[in-house]
């Protein structure tokens, strides 16, 4: 028995070897070019800013790229406390670091921990498929729990901009059609065209079998930007516009005799458009090389009609100079915008915040915070109607409140019942204007102002009822110590 089996075993082994090395090296596959990304994440509790919520674990897939790195979505690794890469077949794991991340573009590059820098050596890197358009067939790659690859064919039915991870960030998206079954609960699935990475799956609707795919041109640009000395993000113009399908508006705006054009309805303060001198009421006719139609689209050579925002967000870098042809008071004018990216922390109300906690300060049981969008979103699914209205109003009308010289909105978020806060227990969501007679434009101002009580008393002023409260400085300091003993780990976070 033993003698007859031996040659058979050798043959079998030989075949296996041929399959795993020979042709596979030339042709990347789900088996050879993907790794699992296991993420433990923990977000801050914006309502109790000194603490984090319970950690949770997710796993997803990453695509291995040239240079021993892995691309995946930022959403997967946001607020990560522990990250690891896992070989889908052997289950071998290694700790990973984030080499680059962009929450707006929803992309992250991961690298194995330096102790295991050759972890990806056995993987076949994927190239980026720079072009894909309507009608193309793509494959969505998944891996079963047992390591078996699964590829699902889908077809691109539409190319336009769509939301990625943050509801305010729109980028190039492939809408693909085809039935998809989720395997092993994976988050972020690589999408491939002819063996090259064409994108990352953002979401799938089982009702209409349509999925949104983060498109590879954005991945390409992200990787390019990462090569720069300083990562400056994807630029944006910083305008809102209205369509000009309304003939009466066209006539009023002097657009008779022109083809397209959109009416500028908002210019974000400090944005590329603002610096370029664009104003509300201008009509945007041409951006860069492209004529803008009355719906706000332009003719993309590959995709056809697509939204103008892609000209800047997907087609240019920060620092690029782009001509803007407009009509102002019926007269043509050409402006030049030097493109830039406004960072979240440069907004009055931070639109997003990951991997760091909100800035706050407690004094004697009064909890102060800087207003952020995640704070408002802490009200859950119905936050738009249930979050405190005044704070919502400020978020929606930031320019109005920036005019007062504020760079952040400091507000009293809640009051803990302490000896210092007697009579103030029910106050919440009040905008702080002054403390100890000093203007409060951010949490650091507050921290400074609290160092100078007036006759031993902190005077805190608000923009609405009850307008001012007073707290004994010495007593508040004692209360602060008690709060630390009671388990509030830190009294303030100023950075």
């Amino acid at each position: 028995m033993r003698l007859t089996l031996a040659p058979l075993l050798i043959i079998a082994l030989g075949i296996t070897t041929l399959l795993s090395t020979g042709p596979a090296a030339a042709q990347p596959s789900a088996e050879t070019s993907l790794v699992r990304v296991n993420v433990t994440s923990q977000s801050y509790n914006f309502l109790r800013p000194w603490e984090k919520k319970a950690p949770s674990t997710r796993r997803g897939l990453g695509a291995v790229l040239e240079g021993e790195k892995v691309i995946t979505t930022a959403e997967l690794v946001a607020n990560a406390t522990y990250l690891e890469l896992e070989m889908p077949d052997t289950g071998e794991k290694v700790t990973a670091d984030i080499a680059g991340i962009d929450y707006e573009a929803n992309l992250a590059v991961l690298t194995p921990d330096s102790d295991a820098s050759d972890f990806l050596a056995s993987r076949v890197p994927l190239e980026i498929a720079s072009e894909a358009t309507v009608g193309d067939t793509l494959e969505i790659w998944q891996i079963e729990d047992n390591g078996t690859p699964v590829a699902t064919s889908v077809k691109i039915i539409k190319v336009d901009i769509g939301p990625y991870f943050l509801d305010s960030s729109y980028f190039l998206t492939y809408e693909v059609y085809g039935a998809l079954q989720s395997r092993s609960g994976s988050f972020t699935l690589p999408v491939v065209k002819d063996g090259k990475l064409a994108g990352l799956l953002l979401g799938y609707s089982s009702d209409d079998q349509v999925s949104d795919v983060l498109a590879s041109p954005i991945i390409e640009r992200f990787l390019e930007e990462l090569k720069k000395d300083e990562y400056t993000g994807f630029p944006h113009l910083g305008v809102n516009y209205a369509q000009t399908l309304d003939e009466q508006l066209r006539g009023y705006a002097g657009l008779n005799g022109h083809e397209g054009g959109v009416y500028i309805t908002k210019v974000v303060k400090g944005s590329s458009a603002d610096d370029a001198g664009l104003e509300v009421g201008d009509v945007l006719l041409k951006l860069g090389d492209y004529e803008i139609d009355s719906r706000g689209n332009y003719d993309h050579p590959l995709y056809g009609k697509i939204n103008l925002s892609h000209i800047v967000r997907g087609g240019a870098s920060t620092g690029d100079v782009i001509p803007i042809e407009i009509l102002r008071d019926g007269k043509p004018l050409t402006l030049e915008a030097t493109l830039k990216h406004k960072r979240p922390e440069d907004y009055l109300v931070d639109p997003y915040m990951f991997n760091r906690g909100p800035r706050f300060l407690t004094e004697g049981g009064l909890i102060f915070q800087e207003l952020t969008l995640p704070y408002l979103k802490s009200w859950g699914g119905k936050w738009r109607t249930q979050a405190p209205f005044k704070l919502m109003y400020i978020n929606a009308n930031q320019e109005e409140f920036e005019e007062n010289g504020r760079d952040k909105v400091v507000f009293l978020s809640q009051v803990l019942r302490t000896p210092s806060t007697l009579g103030y227990e029910r106050l919440s969501h009040l905008i702080v204007t002054k403390v100890n007679d000093r203007e409060i434009n951010n949490i650091r101002d507050l921290d400074q102002a609290l160092k100078s009580p007036i006759d031993g008393i902190h005077k805190i002023e608000f923009d609405s009822f009850p307008r001012m409260i007073f707290v004994d400085a010495e007593e508040a300091a004692a209360v602060n110590q008690q709060l630390l003993q009671l388990g509030i780990p830190e009294l303030k976070r100023l950075d």
Binding site: D246, Q248, L249, P388, F389, Y393, R426, K459, S464, P466
Partner: protein, 541 residues
């Protein structure tokens, strides 16, 4: 009504009674279950309306203010020998529809109760006779309806006085007398014509609580109320609650069974007497108020900072509403020490005849033109201040309106209406600027700049406005260069006889204007009015 949740009520259980600390609760969400005025079936659909801002306007608790209490011994249940003074009030109402403000409205109606208080003077609730088209009064044991009309109606305290055209049938009927404030745990009976049958009904219970509560009819007023556990049901509204054969209240509102059991409310005698006194001169002049909000001084650091002795006296002025009674005399940071000689405790209460009541109680029973004396502390100096009381109108947009025709303007199919609660409730508006104007109209004194916000509420679709339908539900700030501060400004801006190519409407929060080609407007305008059966394009009465 989504937005209202923000400043007011989650519908919860009875939980905290907001008025235990009245001046504080004004600024914090008050959980107020839905109060239904007890008119009759069909019950009027009530809306949840917060009273956060306006609560301050009418705050007071009126226990024992010059009202003689009845004997301290528990009162005996009474037997009324003669029910003839207690009548049924039937109202056919015409309720305007704020979605089609040019229409007459929908017919509605129901019945409540009432009682004779003087010669041809029948007292009932305002909500029983609101939006009335035809009114009848029916007498016990007499099938004949007697045509009636409203002499006076006070929506802010939910009382009305009626008269019948032919009083002869009531000659000889003895009007009911008013009593005082009944003691807790004494027996009362409620008499009226509630659901459950046609004939007069009597229910019995005890006085459960005397408190300062919102009056749901206007949705913005707070006055003294008395809670009883006698069954008070739809149809009881306007009927008397009696003790020792005297009226101790007018049944007027309660909770649905789903919220609370055996909780009915009546309007107590001090409120009734104030109403009767107010109308003595032939017209109703409404409540007056200080139009300020005060903040308790409970924190020792507050006392020291405001240089107050540690005597438990004083509240801090936290807001003084412009154009209110106190706007010229008081400022934020003043400390109120005394009101008409009564020291004000640091929780905002005063002592009147041994009872602790809210300081606004002093104001509550005053009339327009009456004077209030205040002692205040400002910059460490005590000052005596005299305030002449007047009505404060800006809060009215946050209250329900009755007996008024909706005002509107239609222009090329765009329907404009002034903002008030009726409008806000009829159109589900989620525009943030409209919500801001509505909710903060008083609190942030927006009324100083805008008399009444004008809202583009809907668009009657036609070729000329086909691109404008998305703008419904937003506030008009400026038209043809004119700022719009009230509905008539809009009319004037569109009819100024200037020659122009375009009418341009600036909309709050919208970067693009609404533009109408003037040459197209004229024919389109009339066509739209005809097509949508809008008889008049402007009504501003």
């Amino acid at each position: 009504m989504k937005t209202l949740k923000l400043i007011s009520c989650q519908r919860q259980s009875l939980a905290p009674v907001p008025l235990q600390t009245p001046n504080f609760s004004w600024r914090t969400p008050v959980s107020t279950p839905k109060l239904a005025p007890f008119k009759s079936y069909p019950l009027r659909q009530m809306f949840d309306q917060p009273s956060r801002f306006v609560a301050l306007l009418f705050c007071s608790v009126f226990i024992a203010l010059g009202v003689t209490s009845p004997s301290t011994a528990p009162a005996q249940p009474l037997s009324i020998s003669d029910y003839s003074a207690i009548v049924r009030v039937e109202n056919d109402a015409l309720v305007p529809d704020y979605r089609t403000p040019w229409n007459a409205g929908r017919t509605s109606g129901g019945s409540g109760s009432g009682f004779l208080v003087g010669e041809n003077q029948f007292l009932t609730n305002a909500h029983v006779v609101s939006d009335s088209r035809i009114l009848y009064i029916k007498k016990v044991g007499d099938p004949k309806p007697y045509k009636a009309r409203i002499l006076h109606i006070a929506h802010d305290c939910d009382l009305a006085m009626l008269e019948v055209e032919d009083y002869s049938a009531f000659e000889g009927v003895k009007p009911l007398e008013l009593g005082g404030i009944p003691q807790l745990n004494t027996t009362v009976i409620a008499v009226g014509y509630p659901v459950g049958g046609e004939r007069i009904s009597v229910t019995r219970g005890v006085v459960s609580r005397i408190d300062f509560r919102p009056y749901s009819h206007s949705a913005v007023d707070y006055h003294l109320t008395i809670q009883v556990d006698a069954a008070i049901n739809p149809g009881n509204s306007g009927g008397p609650v009696l003790q020792d054969e005297k009226v101790v209240g007018v049944a007027f509102q309660g909770y649905s069974g789903a919220v609370a059991q055996n909780v009915g409310y009546m309007i107590p005698v001090p409120v009734i007497e104030r109403f009767l006194k107010d109308v003595e001169d032939g017209s109703y002049d409404h409540y007056v108020d200080l139009a300020l909000s005060e903040f308790n001084i409970l924190n020792p650091a507050q006392r020291r900072a405001l240089k107050l002795p540690n005597d438990g006296i004083g509240v801090m002025v936290a807001n003084v509403n412009a154009d209110g009674s106190a706007s010229d005399a008081l400022q934020v940071g003043d400390v109120l020490l005394e009101i008409n000689g009564h020291p004000i405790f640091s929780n905002g209460f005063v002592d009147i005849n041994g009872e602790q009541v809210n300081m606004n109680e002093i104001v509550e029973r005053k009339f327009a033109g009456d004077v209030i004396n205040l002692k205040i502390l400002r910059d460490q100096q005590e000052k005596e201040i005299e305030l002449t009381l007047k009505r404060f109108l800006p809060y009215l947009i946050q209250g329900k309106q009755y007996d008024k025709k909706p005002r509107y303007l239609v222009f090329a199919g765009l329907v404009f209406q002034p903002l008030d609660l009726n409008l806000y409730a009829a159109h589900s508006i989620d525009d943030m600027h409209v919500r801001y104007l509505f909710n903060y109209f008083v609190a942030e004194e927006l009324y100083k700049d805008i008399e009444e916000p004008v809202v583009l509420t809907s668009v009657l679709p036609a070729a000329i406005n086909t691109h404008l339908r998305g703008y419904a539900g937003s506030v008009v700030e400026e038209v043809n260069g004119y700022p719009i501060k009230k509905l008539s400004d809009l009319y004037d801006a569109l009819n100024d006889d200037e020659a122009r190519d375009y009418h341009v409407f600036k909309i709050a929060g919208q970067g693009r204007p609404i533009v109408l080609d003037a040459s197209l407007v004229e024919s389109a305008h009339d066509q739209i009015l005809a097509e949508y059966k809008v008889p008049n394009d402007y009504s501003n009465e």
